[in-house]
Symmetry: C2
Subunit: 261 residues, 2 copies
Amino acid sequence: MNVLIVFAHPERHSLNGALLDVAVRDLEAQGHKVQVSDLYRLQWKPAVDRSDFPDVGQGDRLKVASASARDFTAGNLTEDVKAEQEKLLWADTVIFQFPLWWFSMPAILKGWIDRVYACGFAYGVGEHNDKRWGDRYGEGKMAGKRAMLVVTTGGWPEHYSARGINGPIDDVLFHITHGMLFYPGFAVLPSFVAYRVDRLNEAQFADVSAQLCSRLRELETASPIAYRNQNGGDYQIPSMELLEGLEKSGETGFSLHVAAP
Amino acid sequence: MNVLIVFAHPERHSLNGALLDVAVRDLEAQGHKVQVSDLYRLQWKPAVDRSDFPDVGQGDRLKVASASARDFTAGNLTEDVKAEQEKLLWADTVIFQFPLWWFSMPAILKGWIDRVYACGFAYGVGEHNDKRWGDRYGEGKMAGKRAMLVVTTGGWPEHYSARGINGPIDDVLFHITHGMLFYPGFAVLPSFVAYRVDRLNEAQFADVSAQLCSRLRELETASPIAYRNQNGGDYQIPSMELLEGLEKSGETGFSLHVAAP
């Protein structure tokens, strides 16, 4: 299997970097091919701007989605973006590994999403009309591939529990797992989260490494999160609201979009 | 009142830019003082890296939180970051205005949060022990100030409704409103969201502008979202889990952290 790891940490000699080494070693030992996009090493440019769209003139008004669609179709996106898109197409599984900063990803990784996820590649895919709202949420160019987050945080697991003040970790990560991974078509595996990473001793690091390796060995077989496919019959079209009666009694919020077991 | 608008759109001649003009004009007409941090115009550097921390040597391992705390305390953060921190201290109300990209903020704005929100300034404030987990979630250096998001999206309101496939808009924005604004102490006003902005005609733009102005005139008087203060007695310490029985029957997820009316 081909595995792409998109890695976003400013210090390669960090716990996050050590976990990356563990992951690469373990995946290769399983016979997988691994590519790593180390965004800090690549000096990835985070901000979408005019320079991303060569055919938008200096005096022209920049409309990001239409410029992105035009340059993607014409093969005119910048070389750094095209290289990452190629890696995505090559991969069977994509791992996004980052420290949780302010309940989301570091800016450099958000900028990878903002730029690599071109219109026609990750959104604006498929027919859009009142009967069909494109290929997204379970369909799209990433369909057939798997994705997983590997996240480190200084916070305690209790603070991210069902009643914890930060919100449940799966809800905190929903804008990424559902919004950035399931949307372009990935099957999304449950996130791997390492807590309290600022205080790990050697034995605890060995423990976290072992847990990660055990998750990596199930990459091909683990059940993805049961997010509901947009075009699978569960949603009204075009309002894209969940049909009544599909949820557990009293259920609200993000969990509506996960099918009951 | 002093109002800071942090603006993150790559095209000043966009609908978002036009709404910025409307906002500045209306706020000044009310007698407020306004500063705008236009992040693209400032060519804001998004990625936290080694160059943010002058006292970390080339061979030293970069630990972001401790480097940030040390350089913040010593007044050694970079000039661009110090200038933004000064604006935050000057402001009575802060507005964050941006297009919703991939269910979050553009990378350039996330990079403003990642860099301006130093340790000792926006987190790691106050005493941290088993009895008190710092000044955060309703306390902190931003206490006494108000904040509000002004967000544009191409999506339909139905898609962000209670049962909409994108998730309820207040839950989608929770990692920002609760995680990035309430956390350092802001009182957070309900978000202003303009939907389907790619298709607005002139009359619809006038309508959205009028709605925005009406919200801006209530900046000082509107009730903030009733997020629960961490240190107000609603949470167990140090697990920071909501005490049993405070929520509406059957309530789960992010809404637990909003007090019932």
